[in-house]
């Protein structure tokens, strides 16, 4: 049998310890070993961005990352975005602004926009678009995701202003 390696990784606040083959990608690990199928694979060569997750708070392509590299790391996937069983403001904005159609690329887009809004709470449309160039969406023509991201920024600003 192929040699395996023991890894321990925190995903969405929960620690998992598993034995994995060195060649297993992070995406396959998340989807098939942990059962978090919200992270999707669109190209497996690092261009489409559907598989994007947060690794220690920064975006990374789970199709180009091996699971063994994640030992001791903290990950957030799309399943970790929802709050108290409901949608977070970004997810809600995607529904309100028709930010998705088939939904397949959406998980990765949500992760990149989460990073953007954390780094830059008041992005311009151009900055949102530049972030989205890390993702391919065949359905929406990007209008919905752009509107959703800008609306979320506006909403978070208002919440902050009120606090």
């Amino acid at each position: 049998m192929t040699k395996t390696h023991s890894i321990s990784v925190n995903i969405n606040g929960k620690t998992y310890t598993r034995d994995v083959e060195a060649r297993m990608t992070l995406a396959d690990f998340l989807r098939h070993e942990i059962g978090l199928t919200g992270t999707h694979l669109g190209c497996e060569h690092g261009v489409c961005g559907a598989c994007t997750v947060l690794i220690d708070g920064r975006t990374g392509r789970s199709c180009l990352t091996f699971a063994v590299q994640m030992n001791g790391r903290t990950l957030t996937t799309v399943e970790g975005l929802s709050v108290a069983g409901g949608l977070n403001p970004l997810q809600q904005a995607f529904q309100d602004h028709h930010g998705l159609q088939c939904g397949f690329c959406t998980s990765g887009i949500l992760m990149s926009l989460t990073e953007l809004l954390s780094d830059n709470p008041d992005p311009t449309e151009q900055e949102v678009r530049e972030t989205l160039t890390g993702h391919l969406c065949r359905c929406t023509g990007y209008a919905g995701p752009v509107r959703a991201a800008l609306a979320t920024a506006e909403q978070l600003k208002n919440i902050k202003g009120a606090a």
């Binding site: 999707h40 060569h45 995607f94 159609q101 530049e130 065949r138 023509g141 990007y142 919905g144």
Partner: protein, 782 residues
């Protein structure tokens, strides 16, 4: 009946699961004991298979089976895939074997399947299969396919020609003979793949206790797939259930039933375990059907005022190595070319030829973008030569609304005369021009020119036959819980079909939209179904939902009247309740009525009381419903790099009554993005041996967020008289005229250099070369 949801911007109830990572796409379905498949694929465009040795692969770790054509049951080995759309003009009806027999005819054609404990192990074993090939001459460029002495795409055929047919009406010879002006264009048009972000996938689960077989598939057409699979496997149709769960985009290629689907189903039955195959992106580039090259050689005859007298020419279509959907794309192209204009005479000779590439089948637009490009390039040429404003020239030639219904003179792909049922082309045109501030453009262009910038404007108009038959069905049933269940053979790959159907049904039966549950894409849900293609579901399934909802409403009313002791005219149906108007507003819920409609065991039903609050309707449209529109695009060209930036994109769009503007706008916007890809980026390239060269997203470029502006969209609603809800399809109109309008805008931006463009995609290097030839850099080098 109150209309609350039809026409409203209802947000989609599909979305909550999808934004939470709780979608269920095929590869998300994990069944115990599942095995994983990988396919051995031809590395050659054309070769004879001398031998295949699978013995080493069978010994690899975790391998459960390695099957070649020789290992398949006799019927499956011998029979080619069923041809869905035969056509009398086709001299060769050739579809693919499930696994290659003796010969491979394109790079990627499957020769063998490995089934193993994981995809990793299955791919390991692929490398251990030895195939001895005799490489044969391959046909790559469709133009060379027709040459004397050209290699044959199939060794046993004596010609590469699949079909030659003519579409014509009127006296085109006379029109051209007497015309004061004739202009000719030679056009090359390429369209690439569907490139849904989810690749194809199938999971087959055999049930050894019942001999049933369940397939989860990323298909657009589960009922058609079931029919084909039953034929190939020689089993009873009802023993197969096909479920299209959440599907990550379709765009045409997922409407096809693929050989791999049949082989995976067979492997699962043979092994008695679930087998899953998930296509990777490279396989998608190699083996998922595409559209590809068309070469048009066309001319237009006009009078001194630019009025069209006739159009004629020929067109050559590269169909690839097989014809799973016959010749419908070139056929649709030929029927689409006259478009929104009065074209008194028309003659188009089409040739369809084999090449050693993956088969072509419809991709969003299905031959129409090419036809519109050909026609609109001719119109722009006329405007240029006769010094007419391009918009004015089009307005002069439009079919007028009072001419509806308008018979073009051709037979459309639905077998019916090409008769536009409705439309107001000048109004759609004016709406788009207004959004684009077309009248002000000369000022903007002069200002840009003064600043050394090159901006241009272009427009294109189209008519699209949508809502094609044969039918789609919808069952509406009130459950004892009071919820309303809707099932349909319709499918969704992101179009929001569930929300749309729920809008229609909730209005009809009088319940809250959140109390409607919609199950689609499951052959167990309804006896007969067709699926998603040809922008057909709003028309077909939408109409059936309306009709079925109306019947269920009538049943509810009848039972409520008896229960409440009131005449039907005194009862309102609201929020899932039947409410009497008078007195203390006596009320009975839909749930109570649904239970009453089941009767009591052993007791007779009341006379004329319906059994169950349920109805199934199959709307079968008499012919296509013709949607239309005009796109106006403003671009800026960087003459140093050939880069094109789209500044503004305006759409006048008529899909009849709009059921949900949020969804329709999304369809238009997404369609335009696809058209931008076709115009500027997407090119599936092959070398002279038909070896694919662009098999990653780094080589084959899709539009990104910085390439696609937010479109301004105006809806011109001329209801179709051909269906009860007055709708026409909206899924493809965004794509159809986009390339034509964008190329026209680029040409207009570069008008100081008098360059002309007759191709898509128009890449930056081609723009720079055209500018070089025009001497642009001599004059503007500084």
């Amino acid at each position: 009946m109150g209309v609350k949801n039809f026409g409203a911007r209802v947000s989609r109830f599909e979305d909550v699961a999808l934004v939470s990572g709780k979608g269920r796409y095929v590869d998300d379905i994990h069944l115990p004991e599942t095995l994983h498949a990988a396919f051995l694929r031809s590395p050659h465009g054309h070769a004879r298979i001398k031998s295949i040795d699978t013995s080493a692969a069978l010994r690899c770790e975790g391998v459960h089976a390695v099957l070649t054509a020789d290992d398949l049951p006799e019927q499956m080995r011998k029979q080619r895939m069923p041809l869905l759309l035969p056509n009398s003009t086709m001299s060769t009806l050739r579809t693919q074997h499930s696994l290659a027999v003796e010969e491979v005819c394109y790079v990627g054609q499957a020769l063998a399947i490995v089934v193993a404990d994981s995809r990793y192990l299955a791919e390991d074993a692929l490398a251990a299969i030895e195939v001895d090939y005799e490489v044969l001459g391959a046909v790559s460029d469709v133009r060379s396919a027709l040459a004397q002495g050209a290699p044959r795409a199939h060794a046993d055929l004596d010609s590469n020609i699949v079909s030659e047919f003519v579409m014509k009406y009127g006296d085109v010879e006379a029109a051209f003979a007497s015309a004061p002006h004739v202009f000719r264009e030679e056009l090359w048009q390429h369209r690439g793949g569907g490139m849904a972000m989810e690749t194809r996938g199938v999971l087959a689960q055999p049930d050894v206790m019942t001999d049933a077989l369940t397939l989860w598939s990323s298909t657009q057409t589960p009922h058609i797939a079931r029919r084909m699979l039953a034929e190939i496997l020689e089993v009873d149709l009802e023993s197969i259930r096909i479920i299209a769960p959440d599907v990550g985009g379709g765009f045409g290629p997922k409407a096809i039933f693929y050989p791999e689907d049949a082989v995976v189903a067979h492997a699962a039955r043979a092994l008695g375990r679930p087998v899953k195959f998930i296509e990777d992106r490279r396989e998608h580039f190699l083996c998922a059907t595409q559209e590809r090259d068309q070469y048009w050689n066309v001319e237009i005859a006009v009078d001194n005022d630019g009025m069209i007298l006739g159009v004629r020419g020929d067109m050559l279509h590269d169909t690839g190595a097989f014809v799973p959907w016959g010749i419908i794309m070139p056929y649709i192209a030929g029927a689409t070319m006259p478009g929104p204009y009065v074209v008194p005479s028309y003659h188009l000779a089409c040739t369809v030829a084999f090449t050693n590439k993956v088969a072509t089948t419809p991709v969003r637009g299905a031959g129409r973008p090419q036809a519109v490009f050909a026609m609109e390039r001719l119109m722009d040429r006329v405007a240029h030569e006769l010094k007419l404003d391009p918009a004015d020239l089009r307005r002069r030639n439009y079919i007028r609304p009072e001419q509806m219904p308008y018979s073009v003179g051709l037979i459309f792909r639905d077998g019916k005369p090409l008769i536009y049922d409705s439309g107001d082309y000048p109004r759609g045109h004016d709406a788009a021009l207004e959004l684009a501030r077309y009248a002000d453009f000369p000022r903007r262009q002069a200002e840009a020119t003064a600043n050394g910038r090159f901006i241009g404007i272009g427009l294109a108009s189209y008519v699209e036959g949508t809502g094609l038959g044969p039918f789609e069905g919808v069952t509406v049933r009130v459950l004892p819980s009071g919820k309303v269940r809707v099932t349909s053979g319709a499918t969704s790959q992101g179009q929001g079909t569930r929300t749309t159907l729920a809008q229609i049904v909730s209005d009809q039966v009088g319940c809250r939209i959140e109390d409607v549950t919609v199950t689609i894409g499951d052959t167990a849900g309804i006896a007969n179904g067709v699926g998603a293609f040809a922008s057909r579901l709003a028309v077909n399934a939408g109409s059936s939902a309306s009709i079925a909802g109306t019947h269920v409403r009538a049943s509810i009313m009848k039972l409520a009247a008896r229960t409440l002791g009131l005449p039907e005219s005194e009862i309102d149906l609201e929020d899932g309740k039947a409410i009497g108007r008078g007195g203390n507003r006596p009320t009975v819920s839909f749930g109570e009525l649904a239970r009453a409609a089941q009767g009591m065991p052993g007791f007779s039903m009341e006379s004329d009381q319906p059994v169950g609050l349920e109805h199934t309707a199959y709307f079968a449209p008499p012919q296509a419903a013709y949607c239309s529109g005009t796109h106006v695009v403003e671009v800026e060209v960087d003459i140093g790099t050939g880069a094109v930036k789209i500044l503004n994109y305006s759409v006048g769009h008529d899909c009849g009554n709009v059921i949900n503007p949020l969804i329709v706008d999304g369809q238009v916007q997404g369609g335009v993005a696809h058209g931008i890809g076709n115009a500027l980026l997407e090119w599936m390239q092959y070398d002279e041996n038909a070896q694919p060269l662009t098999t990653t997203f780094a080589d084959y470029l899709l539009p990104m967020a910085t390439d696609v502006p937010i479109c301004a969209i105006a809806h011109v609603e001329t209801p179709s008289p051909l269906n009860p809800i007055g709708v026409k399809g909206a899924g493809e109109g965004g794509t159809i005229p986009a390339a034509a309008a964008i190329i026209a805008a680029i040409e207009n931006a570069l008008s100081p250099f008098a360059v002309r463009f007759t191709e898509t995609p128009l890449m930056p290097d081609r723009i720079v070369r055209a500018l070089e030839r025009a001497g642009a850099y001599g004059e503007h080098a500084a």
